[in-house]
């Protein structure tokens, strides 16, 4: 157990060493994490309609949209994340992936942020200087489903502790202040970053409990941008609103040297599924026959 006075990590969650229920004989149950490719295990891949929620409850979805409306604001004339259906990108991703969508190493021990040496049974946690932890990247022991589910609760609890109302009921300016604070917490420790005052950190931490508030913000913001600008088949970027915003025409099979040098011109975005097939009937296509394809001598061992 950590000594009194050491501050549980913000970027590294404290679940790995705080949760007594997780500890058995000094060994933490990191073995409950899957150990192979199935960290990206597909959960619900049912073909629900695109605007059907598969992970969030209606209340959670309302809060997610309230956050998205501040991260990438919009209205009907200048659409943002809400109009682009980013909620459904995040919802479908969480429904589809029980663990992580990207390859992730999930074996312990996990990092614990402390300026003081921490007494632990050998190997339970790795103690890292708070000023250095940002350099190691993602070190959380929490899966995205838990980060969202518990983080949204934390967000409301913090809103209530500040303003006596849930996040969704706050003025936009109040919402922005909270999100800016979470953003600052995520960046704290990095060069040129400002550490929020300790009293503020304590209040945020009390509201968020086991969830790392900075990590929650980072996950949310990263997913929001992914949902805004990935192909519409993943649930967001509805009507190509993200691509239209930045002037991206979608994937094409080819661009000519002349097009590369020409001044950029607006084009109607097209989705991946509209790409012409590359070699629709390779057998009848002399060009296709030169492409490298399966040969004898390569097979699973």
């Amino acid at each position: 157990m950590p000594e009194e006075g050491s501050r549980p990590g913000f970027k590294a969650t404290r679940r790995g060493f705080m949760g007594g229920a997780l500890a058995v004989g000094g060994i933490y149950l990191v073995a409950t994490f899957p150990e192979s490719r199935d960290t990206s295990h597909h959960g619900d891949t049912s073909t629900a309609t695109d605007d059907e929620l598969r992970f969030f409850s209606d209340d959670e979805a309302a809060t997610v949209n309230a956050v998205l409306a501040r991260l990438i604001p919009g209205d009907s004339g200048d659409p943002g994340a809400v109009e682009a259906g980013v909620l459904f990108y995040i919802d479908h991703k969480l429904a589809e992936y029980e663990f992580f969508a990207e390859p992730t190493y999930v074996r312990g021990p996990f990092a614990h942020e402390s300026e003081e040496p921490v007494e632990t049974d050998d190997g339970e946690v790795v103690v890292v200087d708070p000023d250095q932890l940002y350099r190691y990247g993602f070190q959380s022991d929490m899966f995205p489903r838990e980060v969202y589910r518990d983080g949204l609760v934390g967000l409301d609890q913090y809103s209530r502790s500040l303003h006596g109302a849930a996040f969704i009921e706050l003025e936009a300016g109040q919402q922005d202040q909270i999100l800016a604070l979470l953003d600052d917490i995520d960046l704290s420790g990095e060069p040129d970053s400002d550490e929020p005052p300790q009293a503020v950190l304590d209040q945020v931490e009390a509201a968020f409990g086991d969830v790392d508030p900075g990590g929650f913000f980072f996950r949310f913001r990263t997913d929001a941008v992914e949902g805004m600008f990935s192909d519409p088949k993943h649930g967001g970027n509805r009507d190509y609103l993200g691509w239209t915003l930045i002037g991206y025409p979608g994937a094409r099979r080819a661009w000519s040297p002349e097009e590369m040098m020409a001044p950029g011109m607006p084009r109607r975005p097209q989705p991946l599924d509209d790409l012409p097939a590359m070699h629709p009937d390779k057998r009848d296509n002399p060009a296709g026959s030169t492409l490298q394809q399966a040969r004898d001598g390569v097979k699973d061992g």
Binding site: S36, R37, L71, P73, A101, E102, P103, T104, Y105, R107, P109, A111, G123, V126, V128, D129, Q132, R135, Y136, G137, F138, Q139, A180, D183, P191, T222, A224, V225, M228, S230, D231, H234, L245, I246, G247, Y248, P249, A251, R252, A254, W255, S256, P257, M260, M261, G264, L272, L275, A277, M278, T290, L291, Q292, Q293, R295, G297, V298, K299, D300, G301
Partner: protein, 589 residues
């Protein structure tokens, strides 16, 4: 355990150098070779025909090694704790048939002549005291002249597109005037240029520098290679790095060596199979590879010659894990040299500009449709009054700007926050109007930067992960500041409306992708006291084990490694084919 019939050669990995050696050493000889590849089989047709989904390939690393099974830990110095790379950051090694060269960007450099006699050159020109005490840089055991024929063969076999700059001593306008002498031009003309690249070219020309087109392992036109493989030219589609090419324009093992090797009928790649260890006999010689196949069964493949041809970090670990009574600290490590001279590379844009109302079409093209300058590479500029040695190549922002990856941070220097109305407006107006000057800076070796086995973290099979101890030093910070200031001058000459400049090299961080150019750790040298292998990658203390790839580099110059990895492997392949099997288990002269 299932034991297979012995073969002549078995390799860890079915990537670039393994298939290259098979393609060169098997035709015309009776040799048999097997490669054990951790990833799946993958072919241009049909696997790459519909692979333009950035979310899967860029954000979710579809072609990369499975981090949930094997990762690597890192710490900035010996006094700090090491933690694993839990999600992809600093480098992106590939998995699957053909390895990382299937998803590479294609830049195909020859290192500079002075990169090879690095220590001698710097001591001769600037005095022995210019090299800091902790810096363990050394000369390569090969010279540029030794390497030239192998560079030439590699470039012609993969069909490099580029403009020669030094043809047999004659400087050719429009090429790289700083390159070593080459015996003939590139086989193909340069790729088409980009509009932002043109701006850089004009600016650097006007400043007296020497821009030239990127030498690319991507065909600029339809072409039949010396093996008889016929391939199409680049379509500039904008899905290149981290993707397999759907028209075979990007050179890879699939386009070049695999067909030749497989046509002999004496080459076999066993996919989805993970090597557990290099086995040795009581004398300490290697006997073969133990591996787990796709079904989870344990196999043993005996062979006369074992090649560790995985990614740099796995090559280091393969040797360290091969512990036995004969090699208590691992193969090649009898003198404690494995893991030393681990190096990386600076790959950052210190200066970024924003052009109001301009759209550069950054989403077209690829990482090679841009010009480069070598005026600040290596020792191409006088370091007498500078506080560092070395340099790096400089280039404008490249093509293939994918929305789903680039939008995360591309306007960060131009907004207060990375979200909200101002961020959205700036991104919307300027996503395609922001570009910068990129530096790929060299990474000298230091005694305090090294790799060993992690005492705490293990992989899926319970084996220790490799632990990297690495951080930048003053030499790199000073180099980056100097080159960053030159980058700022070039950017200013390109006349942007706004500039964001930071020439202070931040501490190394494990989560920032810079490049997959991790190098060193199994370095080649002139004798067993300064290296793990001889100039062929043959391990001094276990001569029937060879190592290929960038782990052999004594230190890392400021250029992409693939050209030199290829040239070294050509040299090794020829030695194995023509000489090794005449006197097996003897060190090659």
């Amino acid at each position: 355990m299932i034991t297979h019939d012995p073969v002549d050669i078995v390799s860890i990995g079915g990537g670039m150098t393994a298939t290259l050696i098979a393609g060169l050493a098997l035709p015309g000889t009776p040799l048999r070779m097997v490669s054990i590849e951790q990833g799946p089989a993958q072919w241009t047709y049909p696997d790459f025909q519909h692979n333009h989904d950035s979310l899967e390939y860029n954000n979710r690393y579809k072609m990369m090694q499975d981090l949930s099974r094997v990762s690597w830990t890192w710490r900035p110095n010996e006094g700090s704790p090491a933690l694993p790379m839990r999600q992809y950051g600093s480098f992106n090694p590939g998995a699957g048939l053909g390895g990382s060269m299937v998803h590479w960007t294609g830049l195909t450099w020859r290192f500079l002549p002075t990169d090879f006699n690095y220590r001698t050159h710097h001591e001769d020109r600037y005095g022995a005291d210019r090299i800091p005490d902790e810096m363990t840089v050394q000369d390569w055991p090969v010279s540029y002249e030794d390497m030239e024929p192998h560079y030439d063969a590699f470039e012609w076999d993969i069909g490099v597109s580029g403009q020669a700059g030094n043809l047999g001593g004659q400087i050719i306008p429009g090429g790289n005037p700083f390159e070593g002498q080459r015996q003939r031009p590139y086989p193909n003309p340069p790729l088409a240029p980009s509009s932002f690249g043109k701006l850089f070219e004009e600016a650097t020309n006007s400043m007296g520098y020497h821009p030239f087109p990127t030498p690319a392992g991507i065909l600029s036109r339809g072409w039949t290679d010396p093996f008889g493989n016929t391939r199409a030219g680049c379509l500039y589609c904008g899905f290149c790095t981290r993707y397999g090419c759907e028209v075979d324009a990007k050179s890879s093992p699939l386009t070049t060596w695999l067909p030749v090797a497989l046509d002999t009928g004496r080459y076999e790649v066993r996919t989805n199979s993970v090597v557990l260890s290099i086995e040795t006999d009581s004398e300490g010689m290697a006997t073969g590879l133990r591996y787990i196949n796709a079904k989870g069964e344990e196999h043993f493949q005996p062979a006369e010659l074992i090649i560790s041809s995985a990614y740099t970090l796995e090559n280091i670990r393969n040797l360290l894990l091969a512990r036995s009574d004969a090699h208590p600290d691992g193969i090649g490590n009898d003198r404690g040299m494995v893991g030393r001279n681990y190096t990386y590379q600076i790959a950052q844009e210190p200066a970024t500009g924003l052009w109001e109302g301009r759209r550069f079409n950054f989403y077209m093209g690829n990482g090679c449709t841009i010009p480069q300058i070598y005026d600040f590479s290596g020792d191409n500029f006088d370091h007498s009054d500078l506080d560092f040695i070395g340099g790096g190549r400089m280039a404008p922002s490249e093509g293939q700007r994918e929305p789903v990856g680039s939008t995360q941070d591309i306007v960060n220097g131009f907004t207060e926050r990375r979200w909200g109305s101002d961020w959205k407006r700036t991104l919307g107006n300027h996503w395609d109007s922001v570009g910068g000057i990129f530096i790929e800076g060299e990474s000298p070796a230091y005694a305090g930067n090294f790799c060993d086995l992690d005492p705490r973290f293990t992989d899926h099979w319970g084996r220790p992960l490799l632990r990297i101890t690495f951080d930048w030093r003053d030499n790199e910070r000073n180099l980056f500041r100097y080159l960053g200031n030159r980058a700022q001058e070039i950017l200013a000459q390109m006349n942007p409306d706004r500039m964001d400049v930071d020439t202070e090299l931040a501490p190394y961080r494990y989560d920032d992708y810079q490049s997959t150019h991790a190098t060193g750790g199994v370095i080649m040298g002139s004798d067993p006291g300064n290296s793990v292998t001889n100039s062929y990658g043959q391990v001094w203390d276990t001569p029937n084990v060879f190592v290929t790839g960038a782990a052999l580099f004594p230190q890392n110059p400021g250029a992409n490694p693939t050209g030199t990895v290829g040239a070294l492997a050509y040299r090794t392949a020829e030695a194995i084919r023509d000489r090794y099997f005449r006197n097996p288990r003897q060190l090659l002269e």
